[in-house]
Symmetry: none
Subunit: 213 residues, 4 copies
DNA sequence: CATGAATGAGTGTTCATTCAT
DNA sequence: GATGAATGAACACTCATTCAT
């Protein structure tokens, strides 16, 4: 869609010149970083995977750190887009989150979690880059928070800080994603994990009886 | 005067002051690894921090990977010990966990979380080393699981898999530890985070009313 | 003035003068390895001798072992070429070998012998590398063997295994090369050594009279 | 025999104090150096093999180089002794050398040859150490030379320089020792190699007929 | 637009050697 | 007589980065 029409009036979106190479690099880099972590991925490997040379990568991105930043931001935008799509459905939040959970826990082979990769990279990044990434992240969190906030207003969930819900949800998702793909994955199938996890999420640990007391 | 002397080879004059060198290295290494991650910590830096040379580190530990393994196992054992101590109190589990949460969220400057550091190191470790560490980790999880299992038997918490409770608790603890020491730490004080978090943990998101319906 | 400039990274200005860097490295390496043996030659020294940095050597050769292999194979090929040239002359084999002997004993300063250097390197090489080198070596031996085989057919030399002649010849050449350049080189001049050696080679130790008996 | 009587008049042989440790080290070191070469053998390994610590090795020998020198000299003396024993037999030289050849080619698994190991070590040795070793070597050569000289006097072998015979013999022995234990050892059994080699040694390459012409 | 060739600053690791006990 | 603890100087190898083409 984007590359279908060539000349439109007005300033073109800055980087529409040559999507192919620059963007292919970004995509490959994102995959690699998420799969192996910041330090383990060398610029050379990114280049080889894209079938270009290291110098080409540097032609487009000033440093490994900025390649990382760009690729993570890109990835985040993608995720945010998908998130928004699912969250915009008219179904109850409960159902929507359950769906997201199911999807997340079933896909993504060896992927490390976002927070982890970011934390590893932080010491190599400039403050601006860190900011750019935190903003991406924050965007995601705020979208989710927003939904919780709405639910609170509607009296459907207890009035804790919406960001607490958002963080808790994301953390649990990531942690159990790892478990679901880790050592004991066979003993505890992903679908069941997803169900149990959401059960816990909505109802907590306490038994109703003990609450009465 | 103090720094004028170059280190000379040979056995240093008996000192008998504090811990053995081997153990000092272990402790320093554990701190550094937890603060900066596996890759960022160089053997040289560990050595300098201990005021010995790199070769001394290698005198005690065969490789960076085995130093890492040893230091993490040691750290885990310490944590397990402290955990056991707190968990052995006769107070209700709820109170004991609240206490642990308070402690964890209030201490430990920039520490990365255990899972994160481990995952980063994995590609550099031998299978035996990975096993050793996973075992350490597993030990901690099983201790906590055990407590949840007992609570289930007593009918105090809902009958979900005990390991789910354990993982969820640990993950939330780590995630909010990071938040509590991250950017917005001032807006949301650690004590309050701890309270909110445990509230969520015990009662979940659902409002009681919505459950009725 | 010349040495005032620090080497800067990046591609050097086109020069087009002499051989490619890769080949210069190979040649220098071959010389050094033959002069000092595998272990004593450091990659750093090879680099300095070529006026490039260590990293440049690694740009062309994946490891010290593979640099060694490549340089030895190259050297062997050169030797084989020269050998073939001399051996292709229509003169009697006796004269051709005498010529080779003269040449070998008079040249090549402190060079260690091939077999020696190889044996030292073997523990550091991969099986494939060892094979590549043994093949190079075998080629030389078989070329010489071939000549002896022809002489046997013509009835000019006694029918011992051709490879025995080849090995014996090469071994003696190397051993006396060392002597001719060793301690007592002045007392026993190279030309005379060559003559005596070939005399022994063709006629052996036995006095004709003692054979009769 | 040496350690059978304890106190005899006269100065005791210098190092008779504690033969056990110092000499055990020497023996083990000799074996290792001959099997693996100078550089590959670490002082630590020598120590471990002797079940003492590195420091103990240094207690007896000032440096790796001097340990090497001492162990090689010792080894040489042993060889010289054995050589002398065999050479002192009243049998014809031809038979005596054939015997030595048989023995040498059949024994000594992976042993590198003496010359090789020495050459590798030379750059690490002091001039005095090199001298000591060359002297040991020279002793062996001169013993063999002496026998050839006698044979020349008796008119049994042709009047070439005796040292040429000695060097040629030793070189061939070492070279074919390597072959006899190298890759093609099965195709060409040691006993046959020994026979062929000595045939060549005594009679050379030339066929008798071609000599006539 | 893209690259080949080169660098510099590490990084883990080894090893001969030393010295107080 | 023997050793445990420590060092320093290398060394092989890696990787992000640069620059002329």
């Amino acid at each position: 869609m984007q590359s279908a029409w060539k000349k439109t009036p007005g300033r073109p979106p800055a980087n529409s010149q040559d999507q192919s190479t620059a963007d292919r690099i970004l995509q490959v880099a994102a995959d690699l970083f998420m799969a192996q972590g910041y330090e383990k991925v060398t610029v050379d490997v990114v280049a080889k995977e894209c079938q270009v040379t290291k110098a080409t990568v540097y032609y487009y991105y000033a440093s490994k750190a900025s390649l990382f930043t760009a690729s993570v931001v890109r990835l985040m935008n993608e995720i945010v887009t998908r998130m928004k799509m699912i969250l915009s459905s008219p179904k109850p939040l409960r159902d929507r989150l359950n769906l997201i959970t199911q999807i997340r826990l079933q896909t993504g082979g060896t992927q490390l979690d976002f927070e982890m990769v970011m934390n590893e990279a932080v010491p190599s990044l400039t403050p601006e880059q860190i900011r750019a990434m935190r903003d991406s992240e924050e965007l995601l969190t705020s979208i989710i928070s927003e939904e919780f906030a709405k639910e609170i207003e509607r009296g459907r969930i207890r009035p804790l800080p919406p960001r607490l819900y958002a963080h808790a949800y994301v953390s649990l998702l990531n942690a159990f994603h790892a478990k679901a793909h880790g050592e004991h994955r066979d003993e505890w199938p992903a679908t069941q994990v997803a169900k149990d996890l959401m059960d816990f999420f909505w109802s907590g640990a306490d038994s109703p009886l003990s609450v009465v007391e």
